[in-house]
Amino acid sequence: METPTLEVRNLRTHFFTKAGVVKAVDDVSFSIQPGQVLGLVGESGSGKTVTGFSVLGLVDEPGRVVSGDILFKGRNIARADDTEMRSLRGASIAMIFQDPMMTLNPVLRIDTQMIEAITAHRNVDQDGARQEARDMLGKVGIASPDERLKAYPHQFSGGMRQRVAIAIALLNRPELIVADEPTTALDVTIQGQILYEVQRLCEETGTALMWITHDLAVVAGLADTISVMYAGRVVESGSVEEVLEQPMHPYTHGLIGSVPSRNKRGQPLRQIPGMTPSLLNLPSGCAFRTRCSFSTDACQVIPDMSEPVPGRTLRCHEPIVQHEAV
């Protein structure tokens, strides 16, 4: 197997706040092969966004990557200094943010914001950069790119702004893209279009993609592998088909079961009882223990990552075995 584009090992990112230490990312591991798509799934507060920021070295005070390794093409960048990270960001590793409204600077033109992404990393003259920007806008499906380049962000709709953000991410042909819920703020139809575009582009260029989302439907259609996060830890991972067809972790099972389309009409919607715990106040042992209908005394101890089946990882004392699944 070739070197994975991204391999994260036992990553821990903590926030040292006045209220206590928030373990946003607590022993997270996963890897992405070139050209593959990883879906990082979890609710609000699961730590998935912070994981994305950690990879790019954009975790701000009072947060810090405390321990673990982040291997980008085999090179450990977890403790790289800012200069090194800056040369990677936007060039080899790109990020797409969640809220297209605020990702672009409202007082600068689109071409300014695209050209600077190019010239920050490569020795291209203004005209060449402009040409590249123009071409990329066309590739992400924006019509009349010349006019659009001269425009300002507020003149675009949300979907178009996100396409511009994607275009910017692709400008320097990155080998890894971290996308943090890029379609959550958009209409469903636009969402479909963008998913399609991104998938196509990644296939074309062999870019590895880390797609952070809470939406299982998106993951099902897009990703090759999936990692499910809960309260800062990865609780289950594996190939998308296997995990979604036969979830082993009660949480994953609950997530899949609570998707409205999977419920019969007329029946009450299924939910996972209880609420996501505050990260300052996690239950001891397995964090999901208090909401899990399968928990036992064994769950008072944090389960280690296990590999019940090759290619699947699981962090659970009482996994769901297939014939028990309802």
Binding site: R89, G90, M102, L104, N105, V107, L108, E116, Q155
Partner: protein, 325 residues
């Protein structure tokens, strides 16, 4: 854009008209209008002559009409003291005041923005805290007292700089300015810095607040994710966003500077409009006072107009909104 300017111009003209009414009515109602136009020591015959000449026995509206008509021709009465048209006197001294105000504004901006942005980007640093505490002093200290202290220190004790007056005036592009010679420069330094202090403090605080707010925005994080250098982020992304509120405030403050130069000019005996006003108040030269007020109103309105236009140039969201409207 042209529609925008025309609309603003009409609004401006309306404001000037209204203010002329307020000034005239105020003067009319509060004092005997005759007093405005006649020196205090005039005798009865002179007063009656003036009353007839100026039509002061006519109804209020007619008098206001005459005032307006004369005003549009540039005639706002004659000074008692100098026996010259009041408007001329003021216009003579206006360049000195404008020069003082402009230099002060430049000092406030050129020093204030970098200091404020620095304090905003590194709020915990010792230097930042010092800058902010300093800014409190900047807007607390009464200008006139600081001016006196400056004279005491630099002119009396140290003897480095002159204490009063304006230096030699040279001409640059037809504009009289005292900045071309050392003598001129040395005379303007103290009053300009004195006048600038309040605005300097204001700009520092504005720039700091702006920088702090902008730095937390998503687009800054996105810019970092693109791999841009810190200097580019600060100089282009942050600056352009800060400039908008700073320019707006500064534009309005320029008017304030022109007005407040009254104090600095008095302290430093700077021969501008402000000093003329204070002298006129002390000498009871009323036509000059009225003329000063009208001219200041006009200046203010023009400044507000320029600021509005500048604002729409800097903030593309405003500009394009107006076009659609």
């Amino acid at each position: 854009m042209t529609v925008f300017i025309i609309r603003r111009l009409l609004q401006a003209a309306l404001v000037v008209l209204m203010m002329s009414f307020v000034v005239f009515a105020g003067v009319f109602l509060v004092g005997d209008p005759v007093d405005i136009l006649v020196a205090d020591d005039a005798d009865q015959a002179e007063r009656e002559q003036v009353i007839r000449e100026m039509g002061l026995d006519k109804p209020f509206i007619v008098q206001y009409g005459i005032f307006l008509k004369n005003g549009l021709n540039g005639d706002l009465g004659e000074s008692f003291v100098f026996d010259e048209p009041a408007v001329g006197l003021i216009l003579e001294r206006m360049p000195a005041t404008i020069e003082l105000a402009t230099v002060s504004l430049l000092i406030a901006v050129v020093l204030g923005i970098p200091l404020g942005v620095w304090a905003g980007l590194k709020p915990e640093a010792w230097s930042s805290r010092a800058i902010i505490t300093g800014s409190i002093f900047g807007f607390s200290l009464p200008t006139f007292w600081v001016g006196i202290m400056m004279i005491l220190l630099f002119a009396v004790i140290l003897g480095w700089l002159p204490s009063t007056g304006r230096g030699d005036v040279g001409y640059v592009l037809g504009i009289p300015t005292s900045l071309v010679s050392w003598k001129g420069f040395s005379h303007i330094v103290l009053p300009a810095v004195n006048l600038a202090l309040f605005n300097l403090a204001l700009v520092i605080r504005l720039a700091r607040a702006g920088a702090r707010e902008v730095m937390h925005q998503d687009y800054i994080k996105f810019a970092r994710a693109k791999g841009l250098s810190q200097s580019r982020i600060v100089l282009i992304h942050v600056m352009k966003n800060i400039m908008i509120p700073v320019v707006t405030v500064l534009g309005l403050e320029f008017g304030g500077l022109l007005a407040f130069s009254v104090v600095t000019e008095t302290v430093f005996a700077w021969p501008g409009m402000g000093k003329l006003l204070i002298d006129s108040i002390n000498l009871l030269d009323r036509p000059v006072i009225v003329a000063y007020l009208m001219i200041i109103v006009l200046l203010f309105v023009v400044i507000n107009l320029v600021v509005d236009v500048l604002y729409s140039v800097l903030d593309p969201r405003v500009r394009l909104q107006d076009v659609k409207a």
